[in-house]
Amino acid sequence: MIYLTRMLGKPVVDAVGETIGAVSDIAITSGEVFPRVTALAFSGPDKTPFMLSWRKFVEDFDGERVVLSAARPDLRFSYLQPDEVLLHQDLLNKQIVDTQGMKIVRVNDLKLSESRGQLRLLGAEVGTRGLLRGVSPLAERVVVAVAKLLGTDVPEEIIAWNYMELLEKDLSAVKLSVTHKRLHELHPADAADIIEQLTPAQRAKVFEHLDADRVAETISEMNDEMQADVVEDLSEELASDVLEAMDPDDAADIVGDLPYDKAETLLRLMGVKEARQVRKLLGYKEKTAGGIMTPEVTTVTADTTVQDVIEHLRTGAAENENIYYIYVVGPKNALEGVISLRDLIVSPPATKVADIVERDLITVGPDDDQEQVADTMSKYDLLALPVVDEAGRLVGMVTVDDALDVLDEEAAEDLALATGTDPDASAVREWVGRSWNWMIAWAVSGVALAGLLRFFWGRPALFTVSAIFVPLVLRLSEEIASHSLAHMIDTAGGEGARVFLRRFAVDLVAGACLGVASGLVALGLLQAMHEPMAVSAALSLAVGTTVLALAFVGAVLPPLLRRPTGRWRASSTLVTALMGAGGVLLFMYTTVILQNAIGK
């Protein structure tokens, strides 16, 4: 095997044995999976660069020197061809995209192989082996030997030419083999994963070569937090084209995250129709049906024939996000019913829509919580849900892809909580996991505050110290309330006595664990503040019992608040607020009792 790093700097010797320079680079033509080396670049005396055809003039490379087939005066120097890529200049040490492994890597070395008199590029070495060899070949040998002793192996990581996408050199001018995988040929979701890792400058370079539709697809697949940043970095012209090409709901999410001036500029550059749709969607709150719906809905009136509807789909509505459901509307866009694509296809062309329409509809309002919308969709196995305002007018629809995103977002948090059927305290883990950054911030500020208090006013009274724990109690009651609410949503249809008892037991166990845990945290914190043991014990006991009591309330709330119809007697905000207020009152009450008990 021949490595580029071992070749660079080796002498170039002509046919009569005279050294005429040192290897500085080699070029490949890019037409094959294992491309042939076509040219040798070397620097002569005084660093003058020369280039030679490999096929015509290179006799042999024996690992130590390149031997030419002609004497110095007979050499015909050439120039770099447009379809040639230089291995040292364009590839070595550069970042490339591994389009098979879907990640960005740095080229540590290039591996070549000689077969039948031709030198070919096997691939780019991107692993530890190449890195070590670059530092020193001895380091590579030592590490490989040590690894062997330990019974493992340090494999080479080689990326073949057809899976390399160069970030520095634009290969679109180069004739590539059909198998060469380009970044923009990847699935948008895969391309998005890679592009997220690039710096803004590299990203801009990649986007330059893509059309607006492709950029729109890719950006739609990126992290929500990144989308606005990326759009902000595009040129205004491209940005507005990209927003136009996106589904209006995705575009609205992004525009909503942009600074006001930028958002206005882009909306003004967009097409009138698309901009209006986006503006309308911006009026709805995030995390509601209105926030995730698309206004692109295919609508027909009841007196249309099936033939006409199909024709309408072919011509006018083809770019709509979802055409599996066609909504039937009356005057003023009032929603009357729905027909599915299936209904259309199986019905004779002359049938009137009125004859096949399904009038029994499941709808949601624009202000409904997105999680509820997603649950409704999964419950009835729908591909889309119509969104209807108070007056019964169709304002948009939520499609299944957006609902899946919601489930992704929220299921991770809430449904795991709601299905807390596993009594191995996973609920506690979940609670702690969700609130730990907050807890740390609180604990640090608590200790700092106590330190400052002591510094200025000496030892504070127990009741003053207890104030530090109010945020903790508030936060925990909020968590317990949301846990309880998740149960309500999960068991909206009611639950049997056995299921209830089981869940009740699990909740109490989890509550007890949480109570003990928060008590211990309080104890540790108070000790860190150098509070006396009696005070520490009293306060941590107060925290622990309050949490346990709250957990008990949270566990019995769902059946109490559920009406037989499956609706609830209280809003989620009210439950959370009441739990919070109750928790703090209970905590202060317990503190006062304990304070009297220990006489401080």
Binding site: T5, P200, T265, R268, G451
Partner: protein, 423 residues
């Protein structure tokens, strides 16, 4: 109906401010972190030992700092790549490897110093280091591991404003401004002892630290600042450097007005905070200690992250806080490892904190001229940044600054390693 009265966007003050704040951040944050535990200690020692007589030096140091940081940010803006990235592409694996190892060691020593500063400053408030260091390490780790760049940057900008406590503290110390001004205009350099010159070099070494070039360039790249916004980025750098040196001045002044006057010598910043209490009042002391705690934690969160990014960038490992441990094992290893090991070392009972701070400043001094040399080579590479290369006149200034820093560092290191040489 669409809005048909198209307004031509006027560049109002608000718009201009918004533009500036879109670019601001990297320069100010980097410069502010410069006043970390090691920095505060050095400036305090300078003030306590030599009064106002070293403050004049902060003016040429500011210029050198601006020049070095400006070049790094220019490289970032025009290439869209980090410094390690550029060094790897221009000089190859071997040079990068040794440089990265050196940077890793130096930045680790600095992280140690930050945790030492954090532990010492909170002990002034009666909080044991066995409580403060684990909490501090955890906060640092979680803040960066869980936050995205925008959030972290905002937090850092807020933390930057806490440095104002030093200015308050300096003011409360009741300095003799007339005397200070006199010694700035006419530096009393004649007949100073050797220790004066060594301290001067220490101030240079601590102010122009190598990690700052890497960090500022990477944050500029991360922020995606474009060449047409470059002027604003340069202003950001200049404001940051000047603000940082003003803070440094006040630290020196606070110690000069009190400790120097009372003839108290100190070895570590926390001693300065403690010693300020009887001399300048309780609040001056509290402000000084809060400033030190903030600076230490602030720097302790930036150094490991900056190191992890830089090393991963140089070696081509996957990096980024959003990657899982499995996807980016080296990145997470470096980042978490630096924090955990540094915190653990500080918690070893009886570990001496002063040599730790001292050592980290020496290492900064050794590495600074080397990284500045690389940056200078790159910033003159026309193939890389085209017409944004240094002008001839600017090059003279830049080489002078690097030479000034290099010479200073050489003297400092020699004197620290062979104290007998300079008497």
């Amino acid at each position: 109906v669409e809005n048909t009265t198209e307004k031509t966007p006027k560049r109002t003050v608000r718009v201009r401010l918004a533009l500036f704040f879109a670019v601001v951040g990297p320069g100010i944050i980097t410069a502010m972190v410069d006043n970390d535990a090691g920095g505060v200690t050095t400036y305090s020692i300078a003030g306590a030992s030599f009064g106002y007589s070293l403050i004049w030096a902060l003016i040429p140091i500011t210029i050198a700092l601006i020049v070095v940081q400006e070049m790094a940010s220019r490289l970032g803006v025009y290439t869209g790549k980090g410094l390690a990235d550029l060094i790897r592409e221009k000089w190859g694996i071997r040079v990068t490897f040794y440089l990265m190892i050196a940077l890793l060691v130096v930045n680790f020593a600095n992280t140690l110093a930050e945790f030492a500063g954090w532990a010492a400053s909170l002990e002034l408030f009666g909080i044991s280091r066995y409580v403060s260091v684990p909490i501090g390490a955890f906060v640092v780790w979680i803040m960066v591991a869980r936050g995205n760049y925008k959030v972290v940057e905002k937090l850092f900008l807020i933390a930057s404003t806490i440095y104002i406590t030093y200015i308050l503290s300096g003011w409360m110390a009741g300095p003799d401004w007339g005397q200070a001004l006199k010694e700035i205009v006419v530096p009393p350099v004649a007949g100073q002892p050797t220790a004066y010159w060594i301290t001067l070099v220490g101030v240079i070494g601590t102010t122009i630290a190598p990690w700052m070039q890497f960090y500022q360039q990477s944050s500029i790249v991360e922020k995606g600042i474009k060449p047409r916004e470059y002027k604003l980025a340069a202003i950001d750098t200049i404001i940051g450097c000047i603000a940082a040196v003003i803070v440094a001045t006040f630290i020196t002044v606070a110690c000069a007005a009190t400790l120097h006057k009372a003839g108290i010598n100190i070895q570590f910043a926390e001693q300065a905070a403690k010693a300020l209490e009887p001399l300048a009042g309780r609040y001056a002391s509290i402000f000084f200690a809060i400033g030190l705690a903030n600076a230490s934690l602030f720097a302790a969160s930036i150094l490991p992250l900056s190191t992890a990014y830089t090393v991963a960038e140089g070696f081509g490992w996957e990096s980024g806080v959003s990657k899982t441990r499995k996807q980016a094992p080296e990145f997470h290893g470096i980042y978490t490892g630096m924090i955990v090991v540094a915190a653990a070392i500080i918690l070893i009972p009886g570990v001496p904190l002063i040599p730790v701070i001292f050592g980290s400043q020496v290492m900064n001094g050794v590495l600074m001229p080397i990284t500045a040399y690389f940056a200078l080579q790159l910033v003159n590479d026309r193939k890389l940044i085209g017409d944004a290369v240094n002008s001839k006149r600017y090059n003279v200034l830049a080489w002078a600054c690097v030479g000034f820093g290099g010479l200073g560092s050489a003297i400092m290191v020699t004197s620290m390693l062979f104290p007998s040489l300079l008497g």
